[in-house]
Amino acid sequence: MPRSRSARVAVLGSVQRRATSSTPSRTNPAVRRRIVATALVLTSLLLLTVYFRESSSGSLHGVQNAGASVLKPFEAAAERIARPFRDTAGWFGDVLGAKSENAKLRKQLDEERRKAIQAAVNARENEQLRRLLAFVDSARFPAGYRYVATRIISRAPSEFEQQVGIAAGASSGILNHDPVVTEDGLVGQVTKVADNVAQVTLLTDETSAVSGLDYRTHADGIVQHGVSGDSLELDRVTKDQVVEKGDVVVTAGWRSKRFASIYPRGIPICKATSVSQVDTNLYKQVQCEPFVNFSSLEVVAVLVPKGR
């Protein structure tokens, strides 16, 4: 017998299949495994089918209810044991959630606050525009003029310059020296014009001067800036003219052969707050309070002659 063959016989020739016993599940793990798995799957399917087909008062439902009753104490005990841990975890979760929710709510609050401010601004602007519209539609509005309603877009950076910027300019027909008013009274005049913006010099500026007229007594003078920032003064009122405290001063609107006032007649300017005279002075000292609140100006109307 060749050597190789003897070796082959030594290994392969002696292969012996284990004797198959009469009970495969005891001796063959693979078979046993398959039997167990198949039995369990079939049992599951059987349970599933019966449970699904029977009514809620069926036997399997009854068994399940009884089983649930048996399991209930275990569940309650487990829940009770786990509650402190779950509460602790929940507390940390709540803290984290509260932090993120807090950030979200803060953002939402900022957004709502911004909207509320915008709404308030819009409402105030709307109210001012309504009042301005009521003014331009009324008989008080000077004849021979049309108006350009516009917003104040800038203010003078210092107290020395009583000027504001408006959001309308030459493209709207505005020129230098056009009067600017609100429904309360005279604001000033346009002193610089660009295409879409213009500069308005207020009555309270040192360079401003308007011919004024006492509405009641027809005493005339020149309205100029007063001693304090927002006050005015009716100057050049001779002592023979009568001006009393509380009198309303309006624009004189004079016209001569060669010249005419840039302001139309009858626009309210201010109300006299004090009247005095001294022997050493040729004129009366009339302090007055402007009708326009220059510090809260937002919407104005520029008066543009209709013939332009």
């Binding site: 030594a10 290994v11 002696s14 292969v15 012996q16 299949r17 284990r18 793990p29 693979a30 046993r32 495994r33 167990v36 798995a37 369990l40 799957v41 049992t43 599951s44 399917l45 059987l46 349970l47 599933l48 089918t49 449970y51 699904f52 399997l60 399940q64 209810n65 089983g67 649930a68 399991l71 275990f74 569940e75 309650a76 487990a78 829940e79 786990a82 779950r86 975890a89 979760g93």
Partner: protein, 175 residues
């Protein structure tokens, strides 16, 4: 099967199932919640083989369905198949592999979710596919993977590793 081993396995499955139905449903982390029962089942099946796995899955499913008053047999069917498959994997390819528990957990979590969804759909029960497959599946896999090692270690301490008997097709001389 040694009797004590069966008792320990049954107790482990029972308490894992009770914990699963009473503690973990209220514990939502990162958009999902861990399935401790599945982790325990994976551990048992890897440590004890496919027969233990299938039996443990069947028993666990019965407890879960009974406690939750759900369709009896639904969880049993899924967990039986899961336990059997993981057991077979542990007996063959996954034998002595360190990554076997993690791979098993990741795969079985996904397969269990899809299987439960499909069975519920077939039974006409609510089957929110989007919630199961998109919203919670990945957080669930992640959380299960996080808990795999502790649960597997605990299970291994309770059920010391026993090499399942190899299927012998050849008997060598002298044995």
């Amino acid at each position: 099967m040694p009797g004590f081993d069966v008792t320990k396995t049954a107790a482990l499955v029972f308490f894992a199932a009770i914990a699963e139905v009473s503690i973990f449903p209220g514990l939502h982390l990162l958009g999902g919640h861990p399935n401790v029962l599945l982790l325990t089942l994976v551990s048992i099946a890897l440590l004890r083989g496919s027969i233990y796995g299938a039996a443990a899955g069947f028993g666990a499913g019965l407890v879960v369905d009974t406690a939750n008053l759900e369709t009896l047999g639904l969880s049993s069917l899924l967990l039986t198949l899961a336990g059997y498959w993981i057991g077979r994997y542990g007996e063959t390819t996954g034998r002595d592999r360190t990554h076997a528990p993690f791979l098993s957990v990741a795969v079985v979590t996904a397969v269990y979710a899809v299987g439960a969804l499909a069975l519920r759909f077939l039974l006409g029960e609510p089957a929110p596919a989007r919630a199961v497959l998109l919203d919670t599946l990945f957080p669930n896999i992640f959380l299960n993977l996080l808990l795999t090692w502790p649960v597997y270690t605990l299970s291994r301490r309770l059920l010391p590793f026993q090499i399942p008997e190899r299927t012998r097709e050849v008997h060598l001389l002298g044995q």
